[in-house]
Symmetry: none
Subunit: 500 residues, 2 copies
């Protein structure tokens, strides 16, 4: 092929950028897991330097010329062309970022993480406020220089979910408000299942052992990953063969570590399932979008690990580990306990139904901050008022209110909506999967999760990001994103649990 050499240069250049990006990933992971506190300042500077090296490579003029040439090269195969065109789209977007902006943002977010962490520990928003103000100011600038149609927030959404718009998110949340919120209020009125047994002493070591065992069962490989503790659970990829997760622990509550482990392992299985070795640094080896990523984690966390068949198969194992807490608890009770629905303050601990109220509130705040409708100083009150409006509860302090999530501290605006969309996608995938895989519930019950993981490998992971989420969803499930699948799932599952 006459352009082989040019295409190889293209791959080589992306490989180099990806190497540097993964160095940043390692340094950020270390920052959040093991770094001693006095290391923060230099680390911020070091990451900023690597960001700027990567940015300079990205914006190399010769690379731009190469991309343009290759994007019109008819001798390339379809996948090669798709790789080139997606990178050209990213290139065009990145071109809009100045070195000064990247550097300033990197410094702001590095300071942001420490400030957020301190503010959360001290329950004092004022520690985080000035840094967040700076970050929001930079995000507003970002929308302007990126450009957008209809709404500035669209400029940010597209970074996490290409093709997503405020219009679409508003549409989905109109359904959520009209269907899910009233259903959830019905649930609130019903008798609560017992869940005292979840709030007992669960030792860290045994929780970790059980969590690691169960994510291995999902197919997570410790030869190609590891689990560490961090203030916020996350999944991070350092390259093919090294996809790590982080966890946190509450020794008085079973749920947080276990469901975070399954959730992050769901992300990790997506990363491990991507053809990233043969497509290192190329779109063909990368995840499709944040919503699709979240569909994988929520699929495993909720559709599998919060399902009745799962605990019918796994409860005995858990009971054996913690007989002092669980010996007199039935599977039925346990299943209902881990699906307890209630208004609550903390997103990551929220049940499947109220979760979307948490997301909606964050989405409203981000949108209003970006359009200057509210200011950073308004966030705590705005937050608390919305919690009262949608969930009927008011946080007592900002640690359980607007300081609970790390996202804004690293400048992540436009990310939250993808969490809800991910849930909705997972329900849509589940509906198709149940048709495709016979004896689905039996597999889950028996702990033979391999066919399920393989279905996801084949139907979702193997495509990298060469298709858009809508294209992929349509190809796999026959239709674009529809809220109805989640609503059906929710009604069926929670209707039974709560007798509605």
């Amino acid at each position: 092929m006459k352009n082989n050499k040019k295409y190889q240069d293209f791959c080589q250049h992306l490989r180099k950028i990806t190497d540097i990006r993964h160095a940043i990933d390692v340094m950020s992971w270390d920052h959040q897991t093991y770094m001693p506190k006095n290391g923060a300042e230099a680390r911020g500077q070091q990451v900023a330097t690597l960001e700027s090296v990567a940015h300079t490579l990205w914006l190399d003029e010769k690379f731009g010329v190469l991309l343009k040439e290759l994007s019109e090269d008819s001798s390339l195969g379809a996948n090669e062309l798709a790789n080139v065109r997606l990178v050209l789209r990213d290139y065009t977007r990145k071109k809009k970022y100045t070195l000064e902006f990247v550097d300033e943002m990197s410094r702001a977010t590095s300071a942001g993480f420490s400030a957020w962490h301190e503010a959360k520990v001290k329950k004092d928003f004022s520690i985080f406020e000035p840094v967040l103000k700076k970050i929001v100011e930079l995000k507003r600038q970002e929308c302007e220089f990126l450009g957008y149609e209809d709404h500035p927030y669209n400029a940010l959404l597209v970074d996490f979910e290409p093709g997503l718009t405020v219009k679409k998110v508003d549409e989905v949340f109109t359904d959520v408000k009209a269907q899910l919120f009233p259903f959830t209020k019905e649930v609130f009125k019903r008798a609560k299942p017992n869940r005292e047994f979840l709030h007992m002493k669960y030792s860290k070591a045994k929780q970790l052992e059980f969590s690691e065992k169960k994510i291995k069962q999902m197919g997570y490989s410790f030869d190609g990953g590891r689990a560490d503790f961090a203030p916020h659970p996350f999944c991070t990829t350092f390259g093919p063969g090294d996809v790590r997760i982080t966890l946190w622990v509450d020794e008085e509550f079973f749920n947080p570590m276990f469901f975070a482990a399954v959730h992050e392992a769901g992300h990790a299985l997506y990363e491990m399932g991507l053809p990233s070795k043969e497509n290192y640094g190329l779109p063909a080896g990368e995840a499709i979008s944040m919503a699709f990523h979240e569909s994988q984690s929520r699929f495993w966390e909720n559709c599998i690990a919060r399902s009745r068949p799962y605990w019918e198969g796994s409860f005995k194992e858990l009971q054996k580990e913690f007989p002092e807490n669980l010996s007199s608890v039935s599977v039925e009770e346990f299943y209902k306990g881990v699906n307890y629905v209630e208004p609550s303050f903390v997103r990551v601990e929220a049940d499947e139904l109220t979760y979307h109220a948490h997301i909606y509130i964050r989405y409203l705040i981000e949108k209003a901050l970006i359009t200057n409708e509210i200011q950073v100083s308004d966030v705590p009150k705005f937050w608390n008022d919305r919690y009262e409006e949608f969930l009927g509860i008011r946080p007592e302090n900002d640690a359980e209110g607007c300081l609970q999530d790390v996202h804004w501290s690293y400048g992540s605006f436009g990310y939250f909506p993808t969490y809800s969309l991910g849930s909705f996608i997972s329900a849509q995938l589940l509906a198709t999967m149940k048709k495709d895989i016979s004896g689905f519930d039996d597999l889950v019950r028996s702990g033979n999760l391999t066919p399920i993981r393989q279905w996801l490998n084949t139907n979702v992971h193997s495509h990298g990001r060469l298709l858009t989420s809508n294209e992929l969803l349509k190809r796999v499930t026959g239709s674009e994103l529809q809220f109805k699948f989640f609503m059906d799932y929710a009604r069926e599952k929670y209707g039974k649990i709560y007798g509605i």
Copy 2:
């Protein structure tokens, strides 16, 4: 100052290189501590990419011009000029390496490591021999293009110890042979102290707890560092405020973890004591040399943590942690046990006295290889003959003989002598310190090590590498390196222990 801007550019450029170097340090640390095994391939490529980015920045032609201009700029202050001139020296040296040579050496040492590892496991030198031959050939070339006076090996020594020459090392080892070796032979003849109590069950958790407590007492700060486990103990710096050590454990032997912890913490205190925050990336913020670095680790390990006053103060604490091993052991016995002298095969396990025979043998071999006096195929016999000559023992195989150290496999020639010089410097520093600090032994006994660390901070660490080792040693102790200080120390300490 008219050149402020240029000097700032100089600092800025070094800061950038140093940021990338520290990223490599973090990735290498992770490789050796936490990385899952499948991560190795991508990590190797990622580090190579960062190395090449750093190398390109180093050899930037504009940077070379800037260095030359600044090095003749009379408006610069003395320290600024010293920073510039030292970097110019490094630049000039690095410039002599052709890309072809770097590439060839990189391939040879990459093959070297695998071959060495296999040879060591299989106890078969012939597996390593051809690769080592190639490496030695390249090292000989390196001496030629680097240039030298008097002796080609000088070209290599200077990389680890600027100013050090074969003449000086030969001089020192003439004394070692004439004074230390006969004394050590006297020690061999005396009755051995008991040390069975060191070879008992010491649990990992308790060893770690004790080690961490004792290095905190030295002044090692866990706010600016941490201890992790790795196959080999080392100290690594990620920037001001983040200096980490690694340990390893033998649960059947007390010495390895504890003395490695103190040794590595000694290196770390040097790094923590450097003015590296205000001189990030500059010689003024860097350690003076390998020998001086080793003087710090060996000072704490041997002159302090293997001293009698140290255990007079600390033995009770240890006894309390491990009563099952130590309740019937006296301080006197323990002190003698940790200072047990015997001929042995493995350098890293050797005592303070025989250690220098191990180093001398390696030095003789390296020098003879570089000058073509012996060939690689002669190494095993040469090695074994010297062990017999100096220590009276002959290795049974090359794994416990000339294959034991990794250094040659990665092309490190000229490093070994600095291990001995470090010991000798530490004894010379100790002699001065004892004059300067009144009640030295009482301080050590009471565990108040702060004045000792502060003395090192002020007299050694604060200078960065703006002075040569000889200049610094003369300034602090009144004379250049003299072997007599170590010999006096050894005679006094081991004379008492062994009744000589």
